[in-house]
């Protein structure tokens, strides 16, 4: 034993323990996010609880809802919190967090109930879950469907899905009308206003021009009036049908189908049905827009914003990063300037990201953007065009932030190219530039790719600087749309990382938003881990290839 201690073996085991802890935490963390994120889409059964009515503080006999969470807590803690537990002798008690939905009819859409208070608990068939545009989910039993004014009471589920399909196609038309057509007209009217203002500033507004602009505006307004009529007609049409549902209070409630997005019956679903539903929900999450202050619906604008910003950043950062790496590896000698540049690269990588945000806000947004506005958009002032946080400034800021990533990775790739290849090219009479362009850069391109992927992964997860230079919780329009010039780099955008922060910490209904945050986190983590894995894969592949080349 003593000898065993002397051999140092226990200490070796302790260091091994540290590795285990690190591994457990990495894998545990990833699985936690994956589990919590994915289970959000799985249709969980809807329970109906019959409560013991004679208990204290329970006013309702039936509670319908999804079990959201369960925990075991010491009874002493419950008693000290003033919960009545008459005749209950166990040390601990189980309680469920139940999501009851039906937000407009109950005070709280989440409530804790004690297992002790439950008389009976079942998952009844025919329980319908309505996803709605407002007030969250609704749980209840179908009673009747009203179609074109006729109340129908048989073959409810099929009937409902028919009517719902019709309504949702009308809703789609409504959405297109509102966003594409009417959005375009508003955009054009705003453009005309700015044009008039610009002419005014330049003292170039002749009566002719003014009348022409006014005529254009009038034409647009007429077009708008026509569209508006269509809009109202569609709205009336979509609001015509409704469904009657019996909720947990036993009351029959009318739900207007224009507000119902989807209906499903989790208790009736087969396992494969559930899998189908799981993927359908996942698809909706990725392609839908957020609803109800981001606590419901999808994250499409955030995905789009993240991807767009990251692509813009990649376009900016790649040339600079590659050129800097080529300079450091191919041109710079081993003198003090090179050393200073290397230290600069290390420091750029080490400067806290929020400092980049501060710099971006001051330098890019206020200084550069402010000057651009004065030079090119004086007609819009005092409303800033570029002098306010926007996607272009975010991309620029993150480009500086990820510059070292590209440099380091590219340089590593360059250093792996055997010098014999370069010497061969030079010996054949190529100039240094030609060698670089024809031989070295093509060979290093996978390394450049690796750097780019790593930079993209880093940028996709960065939040702190973006909070200062362009991210918003809810962007009314995407940075790309159908209005000329189609790409609007001055617009603010939504971002997955910021979405997590905002929904998880600034949302009014955190309990309802939490699963959505996990799902968003899972999406972001999987994208970033996948990008990193790809980068590592390319790098390893490259190493093998050059090792073969060298032999």
């Amino acid at each position: 034993m003593q000898q065993w201690f002397k051999s140092g073996s226990p200490w070796i085991w302790m260091t091994a323990g540290a590795v285990s802890i690190s591994l457990i935490s990495v894998i545990g963390l990833l699985s936690l996010i994956a589990w919590r994120g994915l289970s959000f889409f799985w249709p969980s059964p809807v329970h109906e609880f019959q409560m013991k009515v004679n208990q204290h503080a329970i006013t309702q006999q039936t509670i319908i809802g999804e079990i959201y969470d369960r925990e075991t807590i010491p009874t002493s803690q419950l008693r000290s919190a003033g919960v009545h537990l008459d005749g209950y002798r166990e040390e601990t008690a189980t309680r469920y967090l139940v999501k009851t939905g039906n937000r407009e009819f109950v005070e709280l859409d989440f409530r804790w109930i004690l297992a002790h208070d439950i008389e009976q608990m079942q998952t009844p068939e025919g329980m319908a879950v309505f996803e709605r545009t407002q007030n969250g989910n609704f749980y209840g039993y179908l009673v009747a469907v009203s179609r074109d004014g006729n109340l129908i009471k048989n073959d409810l589920q099929n009937m409902l899905s028919d009517v719902l399909e019709r309504t949702s196609s009308i809703n789609e038309q409504l959405y297109d009308l509102q966003h594409d057509e009417i959005g375009r007209i508003n955009y054009q009217i705003e453009k005309l206003r700015l044009k008039q203002r610009a002419l005014e500033i330049n003292n170039d507004l002749t009566e002719d021009k003014r009348q022409k602009i006014e005529a254009d505006v009038q034409a647009l307004k007429q077009e708008y009036a026509v569209l508006e009529k269509q809009l109202f007609a569609l709205r009336d049409e979509s609001a015509r049908d409704y469904v009657v549902v019996k909720d947990m209070r036993g009351k029959e409630v009318q739900l207007n189908l224009s507000q119902v997005l989807d209906v499903y019956y989790p208790n009736d679903m087969s396992f494969f049905g559930k899998i189908g539903h799981f993927f359908a929900q996942l698809g909706k999450f990725i392609t839908d827009e957020p609803r109800e202050a981001n606590t419901e619906g999808g994250v499409f604008p955030a995905i789009f914003g993240t991807v767009f910003m990251v692509m813009l950043m990649a376009v900016i950062v790649t040339p600079f990063g590659v050129v800097a790496a080529i300079y450091l590896h191919e041109y710079a000698g081993n003198h003090s300037v090179t050393k200073i540049i290397r230290i600069a690269v290390i420091n750029l990588a080490g400067v806290p990201s929020v400092v980049y945000g501060v710099f971006g806000l001051g330098f890019f947004v206020y200084m550069l953007g402010g000057s651009l506005d004065k030079l090119f958009y004086p007609e819009a002032l005092p409303t800033p065009t570029f002098g306010t946080p926007g996607v272009i400034w975010s991309a620029l800021t993150l480009a500086i932030l990820t510059l070292p990533v590209v440099i380091v990775s590219t340089e590593e790739g360059l250093s792996r190219i055997p010098s014999s290849v370069r010497q061969g090219s030079l010996a054949l009479g190529a100039t240094k530039a030609e060698t670089l362009w024809r031989i070295v850069i093509p060979m290093a391109s996978p390394a450049i790719m690796t750097g780019l992927i790593l930079a993209v992964a880093r940028a996709a997860g960065e939040v702190a600087p973006l909070m200062l230079v362009g991210v918003v919780k809810l962007a009314p329009t995407l940075p790309v749309d159908g209005n000329f010039p189609f790409v609007h780099v001055d617009r603010k955008f939504m971002h997955l990382g910021f979405h997590i922060y905002d929904v998880g910490f600034q949302s009014p209904n955190i309990e309802a938003a939490r699963p959505l945050v996990y799902a968003t986190a899972f999406l972001l983590v999987s994208v970033i881990v996948a990008l990193n894995m790809t980068a590592i894969g390319i790098r390893n592949h490259l190493r093998e290839r050059f090792r073969a080349l060298e032999q």
């Binding site: 051999s7 070796i12 285990s20 050129v323 806290p352 997860g461 702190a464 200062l468 997590i500």
Partner: protein, 743 residues
């Protein structure tokens, strides 16, 4: 290289040109990295630098002077600093136009009072009301400015209004004459304090009654006698909220509580003069929590009420030493804590109370400065020097910031003692901003300290094992797995820490503490078991796979520790450890605390430290360790005496890099703490760090304000911090690389 050149020269000049062009453009591109870093550095500096500028007061070029005959009672200016006004002893109010490079020109004059003026008073600057007293009656006057835009050009027209009508309102009993007067006009509350020739002090409140027929309001006053036999009055002041009356007579300050008219009492009575000096004048600072008292030896003292155990006390907080003699006026700014002091000998000084600094000092000539008016934006002064009216420009953008205000203890208004406080904004305009960077720098260090405490042992131990003991096949898997953690967005770590870990820690605190004990104990006992295990079992597991063997052990130990937690809690702390901590230990507990931050940020830092340490240990030349082993040292001895010693600079550099990351980390701290800027090493309390502070406050700070620039300063401090850490780490690493290559 030279050979290469020889070849290219003999080829076409176009190719040579392209070659040169490529060389120069790539060199320029390479230097851009340096330019980017320098740009960040100098831009931050450029934004921060105006904060440390002193104040400048200079006569406005071209405006000249204007000679006045009459005695001035008060000077003032409207918002845009385009029109100045002067209340004269004769009861006339005069307006002057101030124009760019034009002489001061009289614009309009209004006879406000035709009766002889006996006393005069002005309200706090933002209340913009003046009062003439004649005989036993008073008259309120307000200069007002109407802004209109004929032909799109702004035009300001001065007007005079009488908020209580043109009739004089009596406030003291018949037969007495007002000698000193002070008042305050706080929306619906109006109070006037007056001292008569007979030495009686009165406090009057006013009530308006609207006539239903005409809509006119008739005012009636209600006066109370608050003191008798007052003589030698040096100053009479009233707080803008009508709650306090300050009377200084014969160097004695008497403070009346006038919040309740029916119960006016004396709060304090105490001497306020400096040693062997007499009080000359006094004034209330903006916000009116402080009273400034000038003495004839040039000393100005600041007093305010402080909550002490024995109740509220009026205390002398700080003194401003001046070489001025014959101070004749103290003029506070509208909203900030700057005040100007004038003297009989033509001296003018500007001070700021919060940072205890003299901002500017100048001599305008031998003639006395009789009056001074400050514009609402505090960028222009008008003063009467002798009998000349002069206009001055004031450049005093950031008086509240100084080295002292940022880094030392300051006695803020209403605080019991001097304190380090960060409180940048508040709802009211005349709030005293508290810009101490100490609590947030402290928070940064605290967060980094706990993160390092957690991450350094684990990361270095894991790196040692991975680099030195682990089989190479496993190393290929383990290293990237741990390194992938570095790529995890910190917003996710922060979110998990705040919403998942923090509640778990709160509910399972004893379990978490047990876990700290259980992990090493279980590892050691597993090792011991392994030592005595049969060779048959041992041979099944290849060497260097100990870490895998330990994973189930660690998991089981963790589960047991967390499971035992509630039992321990029941046994030792009566089932509620949180209550025990707050009540019995007297330590505040908040859910999002330093422990949570330490663990979450520790996870963010582990891969950084792990990766660099692992590289440093792995690249220690093999012949060193082989030599040591050959000489009979055990593996552990070789590790501690040879490998770690050689790699120690690399480990140091890894820790520095990790520290740099911990110091600058934003999202984790933002989400996993309550972000309260407190100074307390308590592990169960939160903190606010420099980076989180920037993220929280930057979006709502006004561009160019002191607050904005101080946030840039915080960013600059972070930049310098991390620059130092990273540069030192990089130097050490480069030295190490050179050393290895020579070995």
């Amino acid at each position: 290289m030279s050979k290469n050149k020889a070849i290219t020269v003999s080829t076409s000049p176009w190719r040579t040109f392209k070659d040169k062009l490529a060389q120069y453009s790539v060199t320029t591109g390479g230097c851009l990295v340096l330019v980017a870093l320098l740009l960040i550095f100098f831009y931050l500096l450029y934004v921060v630098e105006p904060v440390f500028h002193g104040a400048e007061v200079a006569p406005r070029a071209g405006t000249g002077t204007y000679t006045v005959q009459q005695n001035t009672l008060a000077l003032g200016m409207e918002e845009q600093s385009e029109i100045a006004y002067q209340f004269e002893q004769t009861g006339i109010l005069k307006f002057y136009q101030i124009e760019e490079s034009k002489a001061l020109a009289p614009l309009r004059q209004v006879t406000v009072l035709s009766e002889p003026v006996q006393a005069f008073a002005y309200s706090a600057p933002h209340q913009n009301t003046y009062l003439y007293a004649s005989g036993r009656s008073i008259l309120f006057v307000r200069p007002e400015f109407k802004i209109s835009y004929p032909d799109n050009v702004r035009q300001i027209t001065p007007e005079v209004s009488y908020p209580m009508g043109r009739t004089l309102i009596p406030v003291v009993p018949e037969g007495e004459q007002i000698q000193h007067v002070a008042f305050a006009w706080d929306e619906d509350q109006i109070g006037v304090a007056s001292i008569t020739e007979a030495g009686n002090a009165y406090f009057s409140t006013f009530e308006g009654e609207e006539n239903f027929m005409t809509g006119e309001i008739t005012w009636s006053s209600d006066s109370q006698k608050i003191a008798e036999k007052v003589s030698g009055t040096q100053a009479l002041l009233m707080a803008p909220n009508v709650g306090r009356v300050f009377l200084i007579a014969k160097n004695q300050l008497q403070v009346f509580d006038t919040r309740d008219v029916d119960d006016i009492s004396t709060l304090y009575q105490l001497p306020v003069n400096e040693m062997s000096a007499n009080v000359l004048t006094a004034s209330l600072l903006s916000g009116a929590n402080s009273i400034l008292i000038a003495n004839d030896n040039g000393m100005i003292s600041q007093w305010f009420e402080v909550n002490e155990e024995s109740g509220r006390q009026l205390k002398e907080i700080r003194r401003f030493e001046t070489n001025m003699t014959g101070i004749n006026g103290i003029y506070p700014e509208f909203f900030r804590k700057t005040f100007f002091v004038t003297s009989e000998n033509g001296q003018l000084s500007a001070f700021h109370t919060t940072n205890h600094a003299e901002l500017w000092q100048g001599d305008l000539g031998d003639t006395p400065i009789r009056h001074l008016g400050i514009s609402p934006r505090s960028d222009t002064l008008i003063l009467q020097d002798g009998n000349q009216l002069k206009v001055f420009d004031v450049a005093n953008e950031h008086p509240e910031v100084s080295w002292e205000a940022l880094w030392s203890e300051i006695w803020y208004e209403g605080y019991q003692t001097p304190a380090y406080t960060w409180q940048s904004t508040s709802a009211s305009d005349d709030f005293e901003p508290k810009f101490s960077l100490v609590p947030i720098s402290f928070g940064t260090m605290k967060a980094a300290f706990y993160a390092m405490l957690f991450s350094v042992p684990i990361a270095i131990a894991a790196a040692i094992y991975t680099a030195y003991f682990m089989s190479s096949g496993m190393r290929k898997v383990v290293k990237p797995t741990i390194e992938i953690m570095e790529a995890l967005p910190t917003v996710i770590l922060g979110f998990l820490a705040g919403l998942w870990l923090a509640p778990i820690m709160e509910n399972h605190l004893p379990g978490v503490v047990l876990l700290l004990l259980a992990l090493p104990i279980s590892t050691l006992s597993a090792a011991l078991l392994w030592h005595y295990a049969s060779p048959a079992v041992k041979n099944k597991v290849p060497e260097g796979w100990d870490a895998i063997v330990l994973i189930p052990v660690v998991l089981i130990a963790g589960a047991i520790a967390l499971g035992l937690g509630p039992i321990f809690e029941e046994l030792l702390f009566d089932g509620n450890v949180r209550e025990f901590i707050t009540n019995d230990l007297g330590i505040d507990y908040s859910q999002r605390n330093a422990l949570v931050v330490g663990i979450a940020m520790g996870f963010a830092v582990i891969p950084t430290i792990f990766s660099i340490t692992e590289d440093a240990i792995f690249s220690v030349p093999k012949h060193l360790s082989n030599g040591s082993l050959a000489l009979g040292a055990t593996r552990w001895q070789t590790l501690t005496r040879v490998v770690l010693l050689t790699a120690s600079p690399g480990i140091f550099s890894a820790v520095m890099m990790g520290l740099g990351r911990a110091v600058g980390e934003t999202m984790i701290v933002l989400m996993a703490t309550g972000n309260t800027p407190i100074m307390d090493w308590n592990i169960f309390q939160g903190m606010r760090t420099l980076s989180a502070n920037i993220a929280v406050e930057m979006p709502e700070s006004e561009v160019g304000s002191s607050h904005y620039r101080i946030l840039f300063l915080a960013a600059f401090v972070l930049f310098i911090f991390t620059f130092l850490f990273n540069t030192v780490a990089e130097f050490v690493r480069q030295r190490l690389r050179d050393k290895y290559s020579s070995l």
